[in-house]
Symmetry: none
Amino acid sequence: MLDLIRPLVVSNNSKIVLLSLDGLGGLPRPETGKSELETARIPNLDRVASEGACGLLRHVAPGITPGSGPGHLGLFGYDPLRYLVGRGVLEALGIEFDLRAGDVAARGNFCTVDGAGLITDRRAGRIATELCAQLVERLRTIRLPGVELLVEPVKEHRFVLVLRGTNLGGRLSETDPQALGKAPLPVQALDDASQRTAELVNAFVDRARSILADSTPANMVLLRGFDRLPDLPPFPDVYGLRAAAIAAYPMYRGLAKVVGMDVVKTGSTFADEIQTLSQHWQSYDFFFVHYKDTDKAGEDGDFDAKVAALERFDSFVPKVEALEPDVIIVSGDHSTPSIMAAHGWQPVPVVIRSRYSGADPVRAFNERACAGGTLGTLPAHHLMPLVMANALRLTKFGA
Amino acid sequence: MLDLIRPLVVSNNSKIVLLSLDGLGGLPRPETGKSELETARIPNLDRVASEGACGLLRHVAPGITPGSGPGHLGLFGYDPLRYLVGRGVLEALGIEFDLRAGDVAARGNFCTVDGAGLITDRRAGRIATELCAQLVERLRTIRLPGVELLVEPVKEHRFVLVLRGTNLGGRLSETDPQALGKAPLPVQALDDASQRTAELVNAFVDRARSILADSTPANMVLLRGFDRLPDLPPFPDVYGLRAAAIAAYPMYRGLAKVVGMDVVKTGSTFADEIQTLSQHWQSYDFFFVHYKDTDKAGEDGDFDAKVAALERFDSFVPKVEALEPDVIIVSGDHSTPSIMAAHGWQPVPVVIRSRYSGADPVRAFNERACAGGTLGTLPAHHLMPLVMANALRLTKFGA
């Protein structure tokens, strides 16, 4: 798809705003038979749906529940089955670590081992975040030849390990045996290119074992989810767009940065984000604006809170419209139905409104109504070509 | 899709029932403008459709009419364009022949040849099934080095030939010239791996010619549809499900066996099948329950009989619901519109109902209504991932 798009891209002065509500999609509450979107009073979103073309986005494949990585890559136009973001990379992005091309990142846990080296607690009793930071300081003293080791505390027993250097491979097995009473496993390379990296990681783990020997309960480390940054064609290059990401949460800033968007500074509330949007209006063509509250309420299983979050979001829509974007898109990275209290596989409502988005019978912005829209149920990574077309930024294909 | 699913599978205690109505989909009768499903009184199916998520299943590709093999493989989650079931294999499954991995099966016809060896009747006047059995006894006397030859009567002039041995190839041309006045063709290998098998088959045909010389009109054989069992990843392994097939007809038992389901013994009526379902409820996670009457009526071009078959089926739905499955799916392997009196390419209504199947505007279970459902029109082999998701048996993809 990206290869198809790139040669067709033309430039103009249009402005595009992608409003992404994290965990937007939901499910009916059994008591009422209505979903969060169907329950909420969202007159502005309903109006945009009436004026635009609606549908449902499927981020990975039918029945597949997307993590935050695949959910966002899909929205940005990258096939999430082709471009994978590993757990280590996501953990690093979540603390806004400045991950660079070629870096290999892993999720780390402090754990407890007994005198024989066997694991007795995979999370070292969930040590305080402060202690984690102190122990990370110790790990930072480790030096290995030909590679830079970067260790960052995350929260409680969790930290991030990043290897930086040339010719590192990210295809490595995990050291966590996922069971008590076993010793941590040595890392094994899963391809030839990762052979030397495996040796480096094993040397790091050996040194960590010595350094932490006296720090029970956090006297050992476990490493998982090794990966490199995916090698993505940059979003601004593919689409010819000056692209800005506005997100209060670090992980989403990180994901936008992975695809090469400019991450602009913003505050911690959605009101701050909308103000930031307004301030940067002249400097960019494309704005990715992230709204977190819907996902948070859904993950908490709090149907009413998700309804309230949708209504709060709705009240900001006129402020975005006041900027007169040429194309406005409202959708999300995955569903988080309150009755599941977790991410879900259900496709996510989407509306595209532009002068050219077309006629559509949909009059309300919710799962059931959008199922009848002209966009149909489409792979999330097919959204960006539609967005570009609505911005008149794609020329025709073939003579 | 199977490679995507497998690492995401998790286990739980959920129960899944797939009710497959053979030839379910239909077309409007010109007199009324209503299809069989739209004509039938099916209050239970309509209720399930109201409560669940609906759509249409396309088993192979737009405009392609599925045979029973591809129709079922699609339902079971196997891309029918990738996993092919040859006619010989299907014929063997239809008589519940115990086909094993590596076997090569062919459909056989007894035919009539004249003194010059030219075909005068490709079906030997449709000899009686009893005579077929007697002649098959003669063919069973044929012995060839390094291969076991298994011959089974089917019906009238039809029989099955199975070659069992090591390193047999199933890519063979047919001996039937599909015309009168020509001699049967020698078998040719269509790949190197089938070279020796071609020689064995030609030796079998030569011996058959001698053995049958005095049995006019059935004095020669024609062989078609050579194939091996497809090499399918077993359904229980892929999905982590203890899977049972309940089908009164041998071919459908055979197709379920090909994918590695347990075929449980049942009687000859659908009431028997439902009783079998109840009896085995605790022993399995997934039940494939096959209903034949819809297809039979459709093939007969008997619109009213198909309506009646749908109504009979509908009356059994509450018995299935009484078992309280976590996920219930109703669909079919292909359409058999009564006005065509044959399989059709039209996509087949499907409903998935679970606690998490989601909001949907569909209130009736028929072709027209299901076209507006949230599932959209989806490839049949994308159904199983959705089913697994609804059973909460898939973890999320990507971090």
